[in-house]
């Protein structure tokens, strides 16, 4: 089980618990504003963009090449950017904080 905190563009803080599936699916299920996940999690749309807190970047690991390319769709991409459909929920993600991209 992992506790994951989302901070939305209105500075709302939402902490959710998940056991499996993608972080995107967890966010969509709980109506986290700004995470749409339009393509259903196949890295085709870039509508689940988050910025991982700097201290958590070790836990999430690095984005794949296709994910990095897709992130370029968004103008607000930085080194902490991830598409959260590509983050699989495991115990390793416990405690991470994700800022939903604008």
């Amino acid at each position: 089980m992992a506790k994951i905190t989302f901070i939305t563009s209105d500075d709302e803080k939402i902490t959710l618990e998940g056991t499996s599936g993608s972080v995107m699916a967890l966010a969509v299920e709980n109506n986290v504003k700004g995470i749409d996940g339009d393509c259903g999690g196949v890295c085709s749309c870039a509508t689940c963009h988050v910025h991982v807190a700097a201290e958590d970047i070790q836990k999430t690991g690095e984005a794949s090449e296709i994910e990095l390319d897709m992130l370029e769709l968004d103008d607000n991409t930085n080194e902490y950017s991830r598409l959260c459909c590509q983050l699989e929920i495991t115990d390793a993600l416990d405690g991470i904080v994700l800022q939903v991209a604008k």
């Binding site: 969509v28 299920e29 709980n30 109506n31 504003k33 749409d36 339009d38 393509c39 259903g40 196949v42 890295c43 085709s44 749309c45 296709i66 390319d69 897709m70 370029e72 769709l73």
Partner: protein, 414 residues
């Protein structure tokens, strides 16, 4: 008294609309009707990962049952609407009961065409690909089939994705396409050639100029006959030849229809209390300056957002560049824009051997205007194409065509 927002159709468009309505602040009732008894699910995986895996349908739900409850969204599943009564602002169900509406959203989508081929009604194990139940039926039929011979009628995206998936499941697959090339309606010949070769490499027989004229059932086999006097045997037949728009409810209620239900830039029909979104809506696309109908998840979601805002009296306007995707084998195809009306293409190979390599893109132009990009295993091209199309960026086609030019926006403009 609370108002009712009634939605006909609880697939991607209808369900998205319901949740966006809550986000926009709609506090009154939301009631969704759909004749499919399943809790709403993602459709794109049906021909892909859902078919090849033994996954439970839970894995592809749009939302969990609890999530609808939490947002107070009422689902009336397995219920068919037979009439829209505009005079009384109500809809009539097949059991003649009624549901009143203040706002009505038609998100009725489309249904597969079953072509009028002689003998098709007596064929065995014949399935379209539209619902989760279709996929369960196909999985079952395949597990009982000894020869696992499948014929797919139609070489569009649905047919080709299904061919790749069934091959993965060990079936022997033949695709029969009526046109001279597969994907003829939606892509350039270069793309058709690439996918023809891809399927051939994976031992799927893709045959073109095959007009199926009759199907007979003899000795526990379907025999599919084509106009050119060829015949193919199959245990299972998949039909993927396109769709009919579910616009009859609207037409019968004198809502203006064309190639779909006609809507304005806020997805409203000619009745100011009735909206139409998703596959069934015939709408104006400002970017391409024409009326279109789109069969895509993206369009379903984008129009749901617009309709939700409009119903909540917020200013809104539909304005997006369409995009699509398709997965076949380990190939990822991403498409942006509408290529119709192109008079020139640029094929750009990124890497690998042969004409196409293992990563390439096709760029469609009308004179100097970039209309669309099809990118195969090349998300970078897709992303750059999207940005260029959105901003009407002029592209240097010579540099684009040159694989030596590194694929970066700054390198492709003058």
């Amino acid at each position: 008294m609370k108002k009712n927002c009634v939605v006909i159709g609880a697939s991607h468009a209808g369900v998205s609309l319901a949740f966006y309505l809550r986000k926009e602040g709609w506090e009154d009732n939301i009631i969704l009707f759909d004749s499919d008894p399943e809790l709403p699910y993602h459709r794109p995986p049906l021909s892909k990962a859902y078919l090849t895996s033994s996954d439970d349908i839970q894995k592809i739900r749009l939302r969990s049952a609890e999530s609808y409850k939490a947002e107070n969204i009422e689902l009336r599943l397995g219920v068919t609407v037979k009439k829209i009564d505009r005079a009384n602002k109500s809809i009539v169900l097949t059991d003649n009961s009624r549901q009143n509406y203040d706002k009505l959203v038609i998100a009725s989508g489309a249904r597969p065409i079953i072509p009028p081929i002689s003998g098709i009604e007596t064929a065995k194990n014949i399935f379209p690909i539209r619902t989760a139940a279709n996929i369960t039926d196909i999985r079952n039929a395949l597990s009982f089939s000894k020869t696992k011979k499948v014929v797919i009628i139609g070489g569009g995206y649905i047919g080709l994705e299904t061919a790749a998936s069934l091959k993965k499941l060990g079936a022997s697959v033949t695709v029969l396409e009526r046109e001279k090339r597969i994907l003829a309606r939606v892509t350039a010949p270069e793309m058709s050639n690439y996918f023809q070769e891809l399927h051939s490499k994976n031992n799927v027989e893709v045959l073109t100029a095959k007009n199926v004229i009759s199907i007979s059932y003899k000795n526990n086999q379907n025999i599919i006959s084509c106009e050119d006097n060829t015949q193919y045997n199959a245990d299972i037949i998949i039909v993927g030849v396109g769709i009919y728009v579910n616009k009859e409810l609207a037409e019968d209620a004198s809502i203006i229809c064309n190639n779909g239900i006609s809507v304005d830039e806020t997805t409203k029909t000619n009745d100011s209390n009735i909206y139409a979104i998703g596959d069934c809506s015939f709408h104006y696309n400002p970017h391409y300056n024409r009326h279109i109908r789109l069969e895509s998840v993206q369009n379903a979601i984008d129009q749901a957002k617009v309709a939700a805002a409009s119903i909540c009296d917020k200013e809104t306007e539909y304005n997006t560049v369409p995009w699509f995707w398709s997965d076949q084998y380990d190939v990822k195809l991403q498409m942006v824009g509408l290529s119709q009306g192109y008079n020139q293409i640029v094929l750009r190979k990124e890497s690998g051997e042969g004409t196409y390599g293992d990563s390439f893109s096709v760029w469609y132009f009308n004179d100097d205007t970039l209309l669309a990009v099809d990118a195969v295993n090349n998300a970078k091209a897709y992303v750059i194409g999207t940005k260029f199309i959105k901003t009407n960026q002029k592209v240097n086609r010579e540099k684009l065509a040159d694989s030596e030019t590194i694929l970066k926006p700054v390198n492709l403009i003058d």
